[in-house]
Amino acid sequence: MKQLSDRIVAKLQAEMQVPDLAGTRYSVVRHLARGGMGSVWLADDMVLNRRVALKVLDLVAPADDLGALLLREARILAGLEHPGIVPVHDAGTLADGRTFYCMKYVEGQTLAQHIAGKNLSEKLRLLERIAEPLDFAHARGFIHRDLKPENVMIGAFGEVLVMDWGLAKVAATGRKPTEDGISMVVPDPQNSSRVTGQGSVLGTPGYMSPEQEHGGNEVDHRTDIFSLGALLAFMLTGSSEEAPAATRAVPRPLRAICEKAMATDPNARYQSAREMAADTVRYLSGEPVLAYPEGWFERVGRIYARHRTAIVLVGAYLLMRVFFILFARR
């Protein structure tokens, strides 16, 4: 029996993981990341001469179920054409039997990396842009179910992309998808229910809604609203688990937005991602937010903060008039 050195064994071990791209237009550059059911590899598309990302199923995954799941993810992505959702170029089966799909390679940072050093208003603008593709997907009847900082990428040109739709599900009660005239993908709901394990717990603790955690079948798009709230809490406090209410540094209206989005009862949450984003925009514009009934004193403070320059100018003018009148009487 040939004796293999530790070095050769380590090399063979590493090589066994590399997907067999024989017969495809791609060649592997390096490993990028590991996900729930496979790995993402940076590859060269030798026909178009560009870098792409290949998501490839694990070598030893039970091919029937996970292969179908990966292909389904690719189809969902292909059907969701939005600047905030990574586009899919190709999908298929490799020579070693593994399912793969090819998508745009996003060079950039994860949300957690990107928000370091960013101010409050930049963070809230970011949330608004995360909500856009989410709302777009919800309108087409898809639920992400795994929204978390690792699944949001900010590209080199500042584009915000919601990634990893591997746990996405067809909503049982999605809004009508064709309002804007864009054709939607119609995946096989029977298949999707099976491969996503309807009734089983899928998602990430800390970002998963209570109903999703219980593994119930009644999860709808509002589970993503909960995750969006957790994402906002993460951006404001550095942790999705830390209640923003306990952090005095977070303004009360923003705490209220988080609390509303993360309400245990889905009916008490925002009913759409757009609605939640609109509330954060209201806060940024100095308008009252829907989630927070402000008191008289807070209202005055907010109005003052919003119109500070005008109020100071008018005040200064009035003061000058008073002085002028008093001076003229003498």
Partner: protein, 244 residues
């Protein structure tokens, strides 16, 4: 020591055949299965006991042979339940228990006694052991040796498959390019010149050999595991990916 080539003839490559045979009531099937398990595990066990219990090489060699003899005689493997853990962890625990029992009973190891295989190359294993970093734990070494054994058996399987399929050039290219420690390794054009091939042929032949090697290793692993679930768990560990 019987080779895997001969083993392949004895054991048809059915899924999980070795473990099933090792737990069967048929003494012949059991004996052959234990022989296959010995081939894959004697080196990890030998190095593990040498490192863990700090015993001399003769006692470690005796213990290793006695351990596999016990595996056959005492029907250790019948108590193995794949739902409770991996086979390799089970075997390592069995080795620990046997050693502790022998220490407790103050039983001296019988030199060369009870061995099902007379030609385990302990000298070679000892030379390999000399290069192991002192900081490495016996458990980590056991796992590394398990991977090494698995790859070596996979390689034998690949050689047999290439020989029967008339693809020995592919195997030789793989050996020269991927399995030699020499640095720098030969370039594709050097190999092409040596074998009288085009460079593109070398690329294709190597790709074929690597693909086949992977298949052979996974076939070998499947044979050495009890269930699909254990196979996947072990393969994930082998490939260095997270186990969920």
């Amino acid at each position: 020591m019987p080779s895997v080539t001969s083993q392949a003839g004895i054991f048809p490559l059915t899924r999980h055949s070795v473990l099933v045979a090792a737990q069967s009531a048929d003494p012949v099937a059991r004996s052959l299965a234990i022989e296959a398990i010995t081939l894959a595990y004697w080196r990890p066990v030998y190095k593990y006991v040498r490192m863990k219990w700090n015993i001399n090489r003769e006692d470690a060699a005796d213990f290793t042979q006695e351990f596999f003899a016990h595996l056959l005689e005492k029907e250790f493997l019948n108590s193995y339940d794949s739902r409770k853990g991996r086979l390799r962890t089970f075997l390592r625990t069995c080795a620990d228990r046997l050693f502790m029992n022998q220490m407790r009973d103050c039983k001296r190891l019988k030199r060369g006694g009870g061995s099902p295989h007379g030609s385990l190359d302990f000298e070679q294993a000892e030379r390999e052991l000399a290069t192991v970093p002192s900081s490495e734990s016996p458990e980590a070494r056991f796992d590394k040796e398990w991977v090494r054994s698995l790859f070596a058996l996979g390689l034998q399987r690949l050689r047999a498959s290439c020989a029967s399929g008339g693809k020995m050039i592919q195997f030789e290219l793989f050996e020269l390019h991927d399995l030699e420690d020499d640095d720098p390794k030969p370039s594709y054009s050097q190999l092409a010149a040596k074998f009288g091939l085009a460079t593109t042929d070398v690329t294709n032949y190597l790709a074929f050999a690597r693909r086949e090697f992977r298949r052979c290793v996974l076939d070998q692993l499947r044979e050495m595991t009890a269930t699909d679930q254990e196979f996947r768990r072990e393969a994930q560990a082998l490939l260095g990916v997270d186990i969920r």
